[in-house]
């Protein structure tokens, strides 16, 4: 067992993640061809606007389930809402935020864009501290809106008139997943502006604008969209009791900042917080790159229940890094490329 653990700790988890993401992507985009059904409470962007998607993103279900009058929400509709929430939470608890880092197809697409940018050799940007703090609240605002708007369609909130039914599933209307994921099965039907009335025109154009931002943004900023994702906000409400955990032993931290450097979402606390053991923050996607970059033994650690999954070790850090050295020694196509620049 110890030997296996050592082998895992020395391994390159980013490579594993790359493969895992591709498989998850194939499943969530093309699973329908195999008649797979994963239910309606998937805690990640499994978008049923794509006909072949084998499940339903919980945000869609939630938006529909709260689209009811107060009376029915306290009746049997409420039970459906609770059952949906419960199955969402149960699924989420297994993988915690790794749903974002390992499974979410939108996350995967952004990672691919990042890889492409890296290949070309274009730099990426980071938010400064202040923008980071300000912008990160947006996802909570979106989460509240996506729940309140459907409620406002069936109930009068604060005595306001009922909202138009054209706002149904409001987040889906602006979510880039609705347009992008069907494209992978050759369906471009979601790429349109609905000219029925002002509301539909506004929402569908907003959807296209968000899509454009999604693509352009993720070229310049790693995981650009995730920072604003309401699913991520919803996740975080339950993250503290999840089974897959990321912990930090502050005593062994030298504050070298390696973990923050490699963090795709730019969480500073991972490097600076030496007081809290549970270190998953709301923007975290549990890609575990921080563990790879940590050269201290027993400092950062991912575990499932009490079982260690992946730990930071000095040996692992150097074996990953010096592996690159062996690659460099090999004469290959790369050398010729580099000679040129």
């Amino acid at each position: 067992m110890n030997k296996l653990q050592k082998h895992i700790n020395n391994s390159n988890i980013s490579k594993f993640r790359l493969v895992f993401q591709i498989l998850a992507f194939l499943l969530l985009i093309y699973g329908g061809y195999l008649s797979i059904d994963l239910g309606t409470s998937i805690p990640t962007f499994a978008c049923p606007y794509n006909q072949e998607c084998p499940g339903t993103c919980y945000l869609i279900s939630a938006q529909h389930q709260v689209h009811n009058t107060w009376a029915s929400l306290f009746g049997f509709r409420g039970k459906a809402l609770l059952a949906g929430l419960l199955s969402f939470v149960l699924l989420f608890l297994i993988l915690n935020k790794a749903w974002c880092g390992y499974i979410c197809p939108l996350g995967t697409i952004q990672d691919w864009i990042t890889k492409l940018r890296n290949r070309i050799g274009v730099s990426f940007s980071r938010y400064d501290d202040l923008s980071f703090k300000r912008l990160k609240t947006i996802k909570y605002v979106l989460l509240v809106l996506l729940l309140i708007i459907p409620l406002g369609m069936s109930n009068s909130i604060f005595g306001l008139p009922l909202l138009s039914h054209d706002l149904s599933a409001p987040f889906c209307q602006i979510c880039p997943g609705r347009i992008i994921t069907p494209l992978f099965v050759g369906d471009a039907s979601q790429l349109f502006v609905d000219f029925t009335n002002a509301t539909t025109m506004f929402m569908s154009s907003l959807g296209i604008i968000v899509l454009a931002l999604f693509i352009v943004g993720s070229i310049f900023k790693k995981r650009f969209f995730c920072f604003f994702c309401p699913m991520s906000a919803l996740h975080f409400l339950f993250s503290k009791i999840a089974l897959l955990r990321l912990n930090k032993n502050g005593e062994n931290c030298t504050k070298c900042g390696n973990c923050y450097r490699v963090c795709d979402v730019g969480i500073k606390a991972i490097a600076e917080d030496i007081d809290h053991s549970y270190i998953v923050k709301d923007d975290c996607m549990m890609c575990l790159k921080c563990i790879e970059a940590c050269p201290e033994n027993d400092c950062l650690k991912a575990s499932f229940l009490t079982l260690p999954v992946f730990e930071s070790t000095e040996e692992g850090f150097f074996s990953r890094n010096l592996h690159l050295d062996h690659e460099m020694q090999k004469p290959s196509q790369k050398v010729i490329e580099d000679e040129k620049d």
Partner: protein
Amino acid sequence: MKKIENKRYERLSANSQKRLVIESDNVLHELQNESEDKITGLDYFYDVAGKFARGQLSAQEKKKYIATNCVQVPIELIYAADAIPIRICSGAYSMSQAGDGLLPAKSCSLVSATFGAIYTNSFPVDQEILSIITPTTCDQKKKLSEIPTGIDQPFYTLELPPAKDSEEAREYWYRSVKKFKRKLEKITGNRISRRRLKGAILKVAKAQQAFRNFHQLRKEQTIISGTNAILVANTFFYDDIESWTRHLNDLISELKQRSDRDQTVVENNNPRLLLTGSPSIFPNLKLPIMIEKMGGTIVVDEFCSSNRLLYDTVAVDEWNMYDMIPALADRYLKACTCPCFTPNPDRERKLLAYIKDFQVEGVVYQSFSGCQLYELESLRISRLLEEANIPMLYVETDYSPDDKGQLATRTEAFIESLKTNQHN
């Protein structure tokens, strides 16, 4: 008149160099005869130290050399520019005497020795030094380049922020390092390419890996005296990095074999000490030698010339220039525990971690007279150690051998008191 001055200068230079050789030979002699049971892997390190004193580090090779001061100069960039960094922070008494005449009275020995070496042109290599890089660490170091001496030396001031945790500091340092890269390309005439820099980072990573293995090994067992360990790390900045790494790995395997045979050179019951403060750089090993002679064992040190030198790593996310340079910059800023940074709680945390990991029983804090930063930080550290219930000996000293008697009495008393603690 001019002629007399020139003659005087030449005499000073030649004399200082001669005395440096004697000084270093004396120290090496003392180390080599320290015990009957010799560790053969150490011979290389003694040899390098001896060559350093003779200015013969590079007798055969024709290479470009860049002199560096302090621990914050990104040597990976220098390697990537196909040049060799040589750190010139000096521990030589002869050099400090040469420098003293030109500096204010209360300058610290390390600074006056470094200055003396620069002034008398006593570099450890007998080839031209392209530039002398000085980061803006302590006031004395950074002002060295502005002392009027009449001799032109190619100084370059590498701007280092006075703090390290803020975003502003990092940004400032990134730009400073980028500027340094361009400067290096200019003075060496070599372009720092992506591939070369990657190679340099990985080359240093190999040395770091060896060094960390050495560090871990010392955690488990006291198989080497602290003075020798200090010298081993110290020689890192004197020799070719690859050969140093190879020899350190050899030394590690020899030490491992010895520990398997229970063949230790160090008394196991000696009080376990941590040495910190102003760095003991070869040949100024006065204090560590004294401590170990008096029956203490230095199990770990926190000097910028040894343990702080190689420990911190570079983590690159995307192996392109735009990410490698900030990654490199971070290695020299974020985890560095130099007292020139304010605030500096990381040094306190590091000391506490060492105390725990190496089961340290007492701390010896060295301050060179005139070294304000270490003197000032000693106040916080002594309070911290008092709370942690670890006895600390504060030693103010310099490079002269005059206070050896007084030091012997004080260290002996300290070590004896620790031994009494052990018995209780």
